[in-house]
């Protein structure tokens, strides 16, 4: 954050450190990897190697910004660097032992013997895309029913994932019941959003553009509140962490990834059935089709929107837990996913639930498979490029239709 870096901290507080652990579930702790720390000006602070537990710790001369890099050549062949590359830039606050996470992956993608990289990436992308879809359906339905482009939707994902983490890790509840409780809380958070902010704003006649900027304010507010409460760390859930990838011939998956796919598909099918078959689902479609018409034919529009928000909140929570399972729980995980959600929703056609589904899956698969040709740390860029290309070819999105003028 530009602002954070220029304001000098209170100098002289003792004991600033950079600490971290290099390990993956498959390889275990990785020892003997060189770690170099430099100041923002490029002066070397120290060089160390990880110990037998994969840990490293570097004492720092004071708070400020540091660059920490890792000797990628010393990693075992099966271990690959994650999307962040081999360097990290961190800002260390006074007196703080700052954890550094290099996001290593154990290459389970390539380790199943018979796996084909393209197939493996496709399956990973499918998992990722379905997860995006679970998160994004609420975003799309909210847009459809209220016209709001909700930039604070990512925070619903983060909040859900973090609540589940507190219930799971701090309160010791197993992850599945923890997730269900968190989904209930997530639905309540969604309802709170609608009742506390958006319904009063609609009543005031706040324009859509103004509402969009309000949602940006809300996103900033929530995101940094989360960081204050939860902290800037990434933490795993308590369950299902030490799983080995199971080979399925051309690809391999951990059981949690497999269940992530299965759960996503079940949930998405349930949502589709609800939209098609139930009264409330039909009402949702009617409201997003034409709000005034729906209101005049006796549908309680505000109630429908409330349900959409609750559903969006619960689904975002579920998506957040699935994301936390694969990528750990972080304060800004939802915001980073938000752009891909937007990409998916826009690709499919803004406001259409099935469009969000199709678009998200395409984005997920494309992002993963693009690493066949572009470096891993640029894979999100590929997804965003895809969005722009599709907008040129088919502006209304894959399932959208053109608006009428006049």
């Amino acid at each position: 954050m530009a602002l954070a870096t220029v304001v000098p901290g209170v100098a002289g507080a003792a004991g600033e450190k950079l600490v971290g652990t290099l390990q993956t579930s498959r390889s275990g702790p990785i020892a003997g990897v060189g770690i170099t720390v430099e100041t923002a000006d490029g002066d070397e602070v120290d060089s160390v190697e990880t110990d037998e537990n994969g840990r490293f710790s570097v004492d720092l001369p004071g708070p400020g910004q540091y660059t920490i890099s890792l000797d990628a050549d010393a990693l075992p062949d099966t271990v690959k660097l994650g999307s962040g590359g081999d360097t990290r830039t961190v800002t260390v606050d006074p007196g703080r032992s700052q954890p550094v996470n290099f996001g290593l992956s154990d290459g389970s993608a390539n380790s199943g013997g018979g796996t084909i990289r393209a197939v493996q990436l496709f399956v990973d992308g499918l998992r990722f895309g379905l997860l995006i879809a679970v998160c994004a359906i609420g975003l799309s339905l909210i847009f459809g029913t209220t016209g709001l482009v909700n930039f604070a939707h990512g925070e619903l994902v983060s909040i859900g994932a973090i609540i589940a983490w507190y219930i799971n890790v701090r309160a010791g509840v197993p992850l599945i019941p923890a997730t269900i409780i968190a989904m209930v809380v997530g639905a309540a958070v969604g309802a709170l959003n609608e009742r506390g902010i958006w319904r009063p704003l609609r009543r005031r006649g706040t324009g859509l553009v103004a509402a969009l900027v309000v949602s940006i304010g809300l996103s900033l507010l929530l995101r940094y509140l989360i960081q204050i409460v939860y902290g800037g760390f990434s933490n795993p859930y308590g369950d299902y962490q030490s799983q080995r990838a199971v080979s399925y011939g051309a690809f391999s998956l951990t059981n949690r990834s497999l269940f992530s796919i299965i759960i996503s598909v079940i949930v998405l099918v349930l949502v589709a059935v609800m939209l098609q078959r139930t009264r409330i689902g039909k009402a949702m479609r009617a409201v997003s089709d034409n709000r005034d018409l729906a209101a005049s034919s006796g549908i309680d529009v505000n109630r429908v929107i409330l349900v959409v928000w609750m559903m969006g909140g619960a689904l975002a929570t579920l998506g957040g837990v699935l994301l936390g399972l694969s990528d750990q729980v972080q304060w800004d995980m939802g915001f980073r996913l938000l752009l891909l959600m937007f990409a998916g929703v826009t690709l499919g056609g803004l406001g259409t639930a099935y469009g969000a589904l199709v678009g998200s899956v395409i984005v997920g698969v494309f992002v993963q498979m693009s690493t066949l040709v572009i470096p891993d740390d640029m894979k999100y860029v590929g997804g965003l490029l895809l969005l722009i290309v599709i907008l040129i070819i088919r502006p209304q999105g894959i399932l959208g239709s053109r608006a009428r003028i006049g």
Partner: protein, 347 residues
């Protein structure tokens, strides 16, 4: 011969009138109308009939939304210098036809031309620059611009609208002053001169319609297309608006307008085109229409003298498109806007 509206005579003494309205006077006043009416008098009352002096010619234009054909016009000619009324029940494709003619929408097939020049590939602003201007069903007054700024926007070929010239006021001051003069004349004609420094957003619905029409006239158009100019206007202003529409013809412009109110159509049009379900089902002079069986069946039966509100129109349309969707067995299994719903009115 329709009655001369009171508003028409009332402003005859306005300053600058002579310059803005050439060839006005009791003698030549009805000249152009007589010309158009006389030219159209002997034409057969049949669909697609050739006009003696067509300004706009439409050939084989179709536009479909999903499975629904919104417009399918085989051949249509619009007489130059006359007032052509375009009527039809809701969902008949009148506004869609307007959108196609002015470049706001692209057809699936077909060609159309103005003065022999094809308009098929042109974008809306290029059509407007050729002298074909339109207004919108839901008035598009530019709310946070003053009435005068709205008017000035209508002027064509402004040097100051070029980015670089804008930085050099010397290059556009004189033109701006001339345009302001012209705008004031028009505003006086439309009785909006007292409002010139107000934001357009605070005008009443009727005043906005007047402003939109006056703004369109700033570009010295050849063809004026008015989409429901009387909709939502209070009766007191209706007469004045009608007077202005007739004035356009007297200044030699070709006018096409969409209207629901049959009395208005009978009052001012030289020729009436009736659309239903995207097709032209009849055309002829106003008096021929009420005798036409197809028209009576398609249109006059239901909503003869009660113009529909936007909401009612929406409901009718939604019912119609739902019925069509049912017929085709494609019952909306997709959400929201991807449903074929061509005549859905903009917010």
């Amino acid at each position: 011969m329709p009655a001369e509206p009171a508003a028409h005579g009332a402003h005859a003494a306005g300053p600058g009138e002579a310059a803005a309205v050439p060839a006005r006077g009791s003698g030549s006043d009805r000249g152009p109308q007589r010309l158009a009416q006389a030219a159209l008098k002997d034409l057969p009352w049949e669909v697609g009939v050739a006009k003696p002096d067509p300004a706009i010619v439409v050939d084989g234009v179709t536009r479909t939304f999903g499975g629904l054909t919104a417009v399918s016009v085989d051949h249509l000619e619009i007489q130059r210098g006359g007032i052509t009324g375009l009527i039809g029940p809701n969902g008949a494709g009148k506004t869609t036809l307007f959108n196609l003619l002015t470049g706001f929408d692209q057809p699936n097939t077909g060609t159309w031309s103005y003065d022999g020049r094809s308009l098929g590939k042109l974008s809306p602003h290029q059509v407007a620059r050729l002298g074909v201007v339109r207004t919108f069903q839901l008035t598009k007054a530019l709310s946070r611009l003053t009435v005068m700024q709205n008017m000035l926007l209508g002027a064509q070929q402004q040097r100051g609208e070029n980015f670089l010239s804008a930085l050099l006021p010397g290059t556009w001051r004189k033109q701006e002053a001339a345009n302001t003069e012209k705008a004031m004349d028009l505003l006086r004609r439309f009785k909006l001169d007292a409002k010139k420094d107000d934001f357009a957003g605070i005008l009443s619905g009727g005043q906005r319609k007047l402003l939109e029409m006056a703004r369109a006239l700033m570009s010295d158009p050849q063809v004026v297309m008015l989409d429901e100019p009387m909709a939502g206007v209070n009766p007191a202003l209706t007469q004045s608006l009608l007077g202005h529409v007739k004035n356009l013809r007297e200044e030699g412009m070709t006018v096409i307008f969409v209207e629901h109110d049959m009395d208005v159509v009978r009052d001012i049009s030289d020729w009436v085109v009736v659309m239903a379900a995207g097709k032209v089902i009849a055309e002829g002079p106003p008096e021929s229409i009420s005798q036409n069986r197809a028209v009576v069946d398609a249109y006059l039966g239901a909503h003869h003298d009660a113009p529909l509100t936007v909401e009612e129109e929406d409901r009718v349309l939604a019912e119609a498109s739902a019925a069509i969707a049912r017929d085709e067995g494609t019952d909306a299994d997709v959400l929201s806007s991807d449903r074929p719903n061509p005549e859905r009115t903009d917010r």
